[in-house]
Symmetry: C2
Subunit: 315 residues, 2 copies
Amino acid sequence: MSSPNAVKVFGPATVANVSCGFDILGFALNEPGDLVIAQKTDKRGLTFECPQAESLGISVELEKNTATAPVISLMKALNPSKGVHLMLDKLMPVGSGLGSSAASAAAALVAVNSLFDSPLSREELVTFGVEAERVACGTGHADNIGPAIMGGFVLIRSTQPLDLVALPAPDKLHCTIVHPAITLETRDSRDVLKQNIQLKKAVTQWGNTAALVAALYRDDLELLGRSLQDVVVEPERSQILPGFAQAKSAAMDSGALGFGISGSGPSLFALSDSDSKAKAIASALRSVFDNLRLGCETYCSKINTLGARVIEEER
Amino acid sequence: MSSPNAVKVFGPATVANVSCGFDILGFALNEPGDLVIAQKTDKRGLTFECPQAESLGISVELEKNTATAPVISLMKALNPSKGVHLMLDKLMPVGSGLGSSAASAAAALVAVNSLFDSPLSREELVTFGVEAERVACGTGHADNIGPAIMGGFVLIRSTQPLDLVALPAPDKLHCTIVHPAITLETRDSRDVLKQNIQLKKAVTQWGNTAALVAALYRDDLELLGRSLQDVVVEPERSQILPGFAQAKSAAMDSGALGFGISGSGPSLFALSDSDSKAKAIASALRSVFDNLRLGCETYCSKINTLGARVIEEER
């Protein structure tokens, strides 16, 4: 069977900094996400278009765009005899705390890899994706790009060298996202963090992180709920997020197992054990931001265990 | 079947502060340990003897001895119509960093519970044991008493309220202990710790802690080895432990997966994947302390997955 001439790939939104798992844990969602169409071209090299680039203020320079920057390296590694044209359909909000740049990068990497019969593993693709994160925010975090490519919950034990651990995702687990209409700079939300923390709080945090991992393996959603506590980052960052306290109360009162900041915000996430609870939480969260006269988008999703995936192909 | 008239129980040594799992993770050993013989008496109440008490400087006052203090509370909870006489055969070194007081307490609690047909679960017994730790060192840690009673690896997500998670122990895992002839006070080794740590190091630590838990569930000893890194406590405490750096090098060169301080020292532990490696590590560690003209004891053991256990009973 010949390799495809064109593929369309969905790259999912992701929740990074999962509560106590600041900087080391992320998971993938079924929505929102970006789409990438990759087509083989006769002329070697990479070309690119993104219809929303101008309106969203996204660079289309290959080295600066988060979808194409990692593909440049991937193309060097694959060294194909054909070229590739990429079209990024940027459907996700930018600067939302939902891993928008990782979603584009994941879709682009999986698309180009698929076009040449997937010689690289998902984990190998992540190493290229970490480069894109460097383009987007100056540091090579992997807690968005890891789950965006691999799906499920991904633990980043280390970034140098990259050491990823795929964790199981309980089947009943549902995620509610609220993305309020607030603009934050990732750099700003890094700035509010103290460089030093109390040892006592750090111990509480790694006890919860360890228990959260155990809860995923045991499929123990009660333990997962007890573990979803962030005593280090959330107390600082939540102060620059209007409505955080009300949103957390509303989500917990609606049956959430846990609640926290997605990435560095402004999006917030809640985990629960059913679709109906996820929807009830979404409704409660919309009320909170309506009352604050802030617009918001909500999304309900199971954990996306597949990561970026080919949804159409042309042979 | 009537309940036993007397039981003999082995209470195991434990390794707490397992590397990156400072204050939240411990595991149990097959040796060394303490023995407790519990016998029913006609007169209600508790009596106690310990042949080694005078030579070891251990109190035999019921409220002050670490074996009897938790049993007082247990007897109140069980409210038996018979009394109990406890004999503690204190075989473990005291102040070794191997959970000596927890071993005695675990043996005593399991013995008395067994004498009355085990109405309480192992986890319930731990709550009584945490009291004994308060007697021993002023704070209610559970990372020795938890595994001493429950066996295996035990994660302490929280001490208030107590929230314990039993973790799987890979069958191939072996532990080597070296107990050098050095006297440390637990309070001293707490004093060397800084009250504040860098956020960056804390993130590294909770990434490793989370990965260590994943490694236990995946039975992945390579990941376990990569995760057994303590960037927070070991750099401070190792400075008051003569020979630490040489011992660590010797253990790693002899095939250890990881190496660290057991509890607050002076005992050190190495994990490896076979009995032969565990013994080779023990031999290498003895050489290190011989060269330093310090006496030492070594122990090789698989992970004790049963915890404190009845080894004889009389009906």
